[in-house]
Symmetry: C2
Subunit: 660 residues, 2 copies
């Protein structure tokens, strides 16, 4: 073990294992997670070639091999709990998306949720046994987040009792679904349902796209891979063009909406039924944000502990770069953010499970709030994480650009989360729509409950300029509860500002134009609301920690998170009179203190995430800190070093000499 | 041509060609640039396979082929002016780094600057004729920006009149130099010069690393490629381990410093001589920032003009996404930034050329200021551009993740600029060191000149909290000159704050510790200084424009740039009493107006950058706007579509069926 990183671990003030247990949800969960991880780690079948050294086709090939093996082994070991499957999968394909992701994560669940019992009989077991491999084909070349804009049609033909599926335009070609290009032989296709001359909007249809024996595309099906992308290299995101493809009537997923043999359309009982899945997926993405940022922080903080550079005092040995204030200022707020998002993810999962019980009982009352919150927090956490990973990468100096650091891959595999499952700006505006509605209800005298209840107080606040100069505001910058309060008031004020501005514009603009003319402010209001929720949840979680040492260090992290957010948005807080200038200066000083306080625990705080070296797959982030030897060893294995002299020398450079 | 984008061009209020001429530096320059570009575009020898579809080895191979051809053709056409070579090269390898970059951009210039006449005779013509292919080996695995930390040694042996070069540790292995891995047979190696028992610091040595006939590494040389990276795929960035490699005494580049046969060391006349090159390279990087951001803006703004999405008014056709306020707010400030950086780059080139005359005449008086400015502006522009490219990419929806958009490649090839030629945070601190020194000089009564002369007024300003609430400050938010003034005062105040805080800490800390304890504030002060310089230069350039229409639209852009920067840093301006709350609210409103005003000219403003389609190589950024057809066509050419059925189906998926 590198002596620097050993010393860091000896200096930690808390028990790393206890914090790991807390993050996992208890010591039993930690134990079981490690059991599952070691099943993969000790399994020679899962040894892989470093994907960075392979071509795309080879990477796809290796991923399919491992996915097929994984399905076999999960059966063999009897692992069936979704969380445990997820854990196993994330070591088989170390946190990399893979070709069967949509089969497991969307195709099978869609059958479970939307297939009739008869359809379950026909499709589920073949799909479970990977005879049927399916994907979920929703997004088109021209439309993603705006679902009403999707153009694929499914027109019912009562004469043959079939649906006829078509891609009427180029922009209507299905585009992006994972596993669609080469892997799947079936797809759930989302299409506008036309019957008896009416369009009833989007519905799901089960379409076979490849022959079961030869795997060749069926007639009328044009299918393939959409080409190389930023990340997701192992996944065959695909296109699908449908040309008069006929499927039997009972291939429409008809658990809720139905089309009868004569073409009569029967509506589903509630439009809100599909909300649940969206909320679930978006709360999963918040968890992905926490995980990606935790990994990036683990790599950069461990590397910053063993990397020595430059000088603080002339003539003395080069210090660890973790001792530079600028490095701490880049990394520790991100470390705090990783913890914050972890707690938010836990909160959302708990809330989802609590509410989904009510939903299946027919009580949708809490769904709109959770739906709005999930949209906003998905956007908030993915944006912050996206930028944060890059800060971590660039804080590794040149080596952050090498694939041996793993950071480029963490970034490219994470960044699509800002766009898929709801483009972030659209998500923020969706949350804003809910917030403005709530604000108006509160103004109209309705009593709001839940997380937006602070809008009840909206009337007591003033958005008029406040005297910002001298004195204080009664805010205690060392007290998390007091900071939650000003985050809350900032959100309330920004929501009120946006809502009032829309109201004003309505005098000479339509509702829609007034909305668009204030979209910047609406996004800002949503952002402030989400920021408040994150600070609030962090504060509550810290309050629940019983272990004194862990409570102390996480209190510091929480405080750093809250204060750092304030300095980054100090204009808002000053403008609203929530803070005064001397307090803002105090906060800058307090942040510097917190950086120093957290410094001795930085490595222990990332160790607590407990990422196995093989999962990190980063020479910079190695647990033992022996970075440079392994970087040299990795480089020598690079395919360009297979020969001492590259053929291009003989082909181009040597012949050139005679010509010049 | 797509009708939407045609309409955009018809609606422009100014003559695109005239603005292009302005950016090029005159109509003659535009004409010549296009002539050179068309030499490449019409040359069938330079037709290439889309690199996105090739393996790394194939990409390297193709790049070497084109580089070799390029050298031949440049001779054939008699193109010898560096700017024209640069222009030709940037179409041969459409803005992609290539294996000969360091030979042309560093090895040859280093010979020109540091070789003796005798060394020129031996090395220059062979290098010019590509018999000798060289690179510049400075960075090591363990050290980059902090040059004093480099560990490679060159120890003089008077017995044989040779230098013995060694890599004494793993971290001392040369790491990153472009073209070192496979292409070069020589390298300029930077090493600590030891002679007669003394270390005289870094000097440059010419080392042959491969055999001239076989291209095999010479004895004592361990050389190879450092492995796959984020970007720079065509470049064989390499490693070089030296094991008792002996070179003749006269292979040390001895134009300035010298080692005599007996080992006596003679100092160079001035240490500042190497500053000039650094300043030049960093000002080139500012130009790269302008270009990369211009390209990203071109792609996303053209695509946003042809992409229709969602709805502003229910039931009406989907609007162009360029009509959404949130999209304008993401893109137009970046467009303004691209123009700003273009002007800054012009300014730096002019200043460099003006000053370098003085330098060769022995007058170094203006060098420190330019050196400090180049460091800060390199960091400022690359950070902003780095984040800006990603905003552009993510504003293209899902298609920004496809390599067909070109945006992922623009990002990965640009982002290293934040680290190479001086890590950005270190650069900001370097500028801060200069600013604090100037501040102290001004306080001590010295009269400063040049761009830092505003620090002369430092005493008149107060950093005490100002009343921020009501009233105004006399600032005219519609007047660029007035905004330059408050940017200037913000910079002065932040520099003063940091300098005073260091002064205070000196009471109980060493100079170095006090510096490190205020590093966050120092970076912030540098950033404010650079921001001021950019706003100032933009304002001056706008003032020089004679064409009324262009003046009008660039004034709007300049105003948007300045106001947007204020809202992003409103805390600073409020805190310092430079603005009051009602003005900050006014500015938000004014920004919205400017977005609407600029909307009709957005496409024309990116057309003015005049990027040839082949240089952009982006289906989203096509001049004709015909995006979707070409995206489909591109995807179908993807290698994964070479066969309808990927072999992994037969190898893994089909056999699995019998096992489950």
């Amino acid at each position: 073990m590198n002596p620097d990183i050993l010393k860091e671990r000896q200096n930690a003030t808390f028990d790393v294992e206890k914090l790991t247990n807390m993050l996992d949800g208890g010591p039993e969960k930690t134990k079981r997670r490690r059991e599952i991880e070691s099943m993969v780690l000790n399994d020679p079948d899962f040894k892989e070639e470093d994907p960075n050294f392979l071509s795309r086709s080879e990477r796809y090939d290796q991923a399919v091999r491992k996915s097929a093996l994984m399905i076999l082994k999960l059966r063999e070991y009897g692992i069936a709990d979704p969380e445990e499957i997820y854990c196993y999968k994330n070591l088989v394909h170390p946190d990399r998306p893979e070709p069967l992701d949509l089969h497991l994560g969307m195709f099978l669940p869609t059958l479970l949720n939307q297939a009739t019992p008869e359809q379950m009989d026909r499709f589920f077991m073949p799909a479970w046994n990977l005879e049927i491999i399916g994907t979920y084909a929703q997004t088109e070349m021209g439309h993603g987040t705006h679902l009403r804009g999707l153009e694929t049609t499914a027109t019912y033909d009562p004469a043959t009792q079939e649906f006829v599926l078509n891609s009427p335009t180029i922009s209507s070609i299905k585009w992006w679904p994972g596993g669609l290009g080469k892997t799947s032989n079936h797809a759930v296709v989302l299409a506008q349902l036309h019957t008896q001359g009416n369009n009833h909007g989007l519905h799901a249809f089960l379409v076979q796209i490849r022959d079961m024996k030869t795997h060749l595309p069926l007639p009328g099906i044009v299918v393939g891979d959409i080409g190389p992308k930023f990340g997701f290299v192992e996944v065959d995101n695909g296109f699908l063009k449908l040309e008069n493809v006929r499927i039997p009537r009972d291939n429409m997923l008809m658990k809720y909406a139905k089309v009868e043999p004569d073409g009569t359309y029967l509506k589903p009982p509630s439009a809100k039924l599909t909300y649940g899945t969206m909320v679930f997926v978006r709360s999963m993405i918040v968890g992905e944000s926490a995980r990606a940022l935790s990994k990036a922080c683990t790599i950069v903080i461990r590397y910053s502990a063993v990397r020595h550079q430059s000088e603080i005092r002339a003539g003395e040995p080069e210090p660890q770069i973790l001792d530079y204030q600028t490095q701490q200022y880049k990394l520790f707020p991100l470390l705090a953010t990783a913890y914050a998002f972890h707690f938010v993810s836990q909160y959302m999962k708990e809330t989802y499970h609590r509410i989904s019980g009510d939903i299946s009982g027919g009580d949708f009352s809490e769904l709109p709030e959770l739906h709005a919150l999930a949209a906003g927090l998905k956007a908030f956490t993915t944006w912050v994480t996206n930028a944060g990973i890059e800060v971590c990468r660039m804080s590794c100096g040149g080596h952050g650009y090498s694939h041996s650091s793993a950071l480029p891959n963490i970034y490219v595999d994470f960044t699509p989360a800002c766009t898929y499952e709801g483009e972030n700006t659209v998500m923020m505006l969706q949350t804003a729509r809910y917030l403005v509605k709530c604000y108006r209800q509160a103004k109209a005298g309705q009593r709001l409950s839940g997380i937006v209840s602070y809008l009840n107080e909206a009337d007591h606040q003033s958005v008029r300029p406040q005297p910002v100069a001298a004195g204080t505001t009664g805010v205690d910058i060392n007290d998390l509860a007091s900071l939650v309060e000003i985050y809350k008031r900032r959100a309330a004020i920004l929501i009120e500002l946006a809502a009032k501005s829309i109201q004003q514009e309505l005098q000479h603009k339509s509702q829609e134009e007034a909305w668009n003319a204030n979209a910047i402010d609406l996004v800002r209001a949503s952002d402030a609301h989400c920021h408040y929720v994150v600070v609030k949840i962090f504060t509550e979680k810290v309050g629940q920690i019983e272990n004194a040492e862990i409570h102390s260090v996480l209190s510091d992290l929480g405080l750093l998170y809250a204060l750092h957010g304030i300095t980054n948005n100090s204009g808002d807080f000053l403008q609203a009179g929530l803070l005064r200038v001397p307090q803002v200066l105090q906060i800058s000083g307090r942040i510097k203190q917190l950086l120093s306080q957290l410094r001795p625990n930085a490595v222990a705080l990332v160790d607590s995430f407990d990422f196995n070296d093989r999962k990190l797959n980063s020479v910079l982030g190695r647990y033992d800190g022996n970075v440079y030897e392994h970087m040299f060893e990795w480089a020598r294995r690079s395919p360009l070093n297979n020969t001492e002299v590259h053929e291009s020398f003989h082909k181009y450079l040597k012949p050139l000499r005679s010509k010049l």
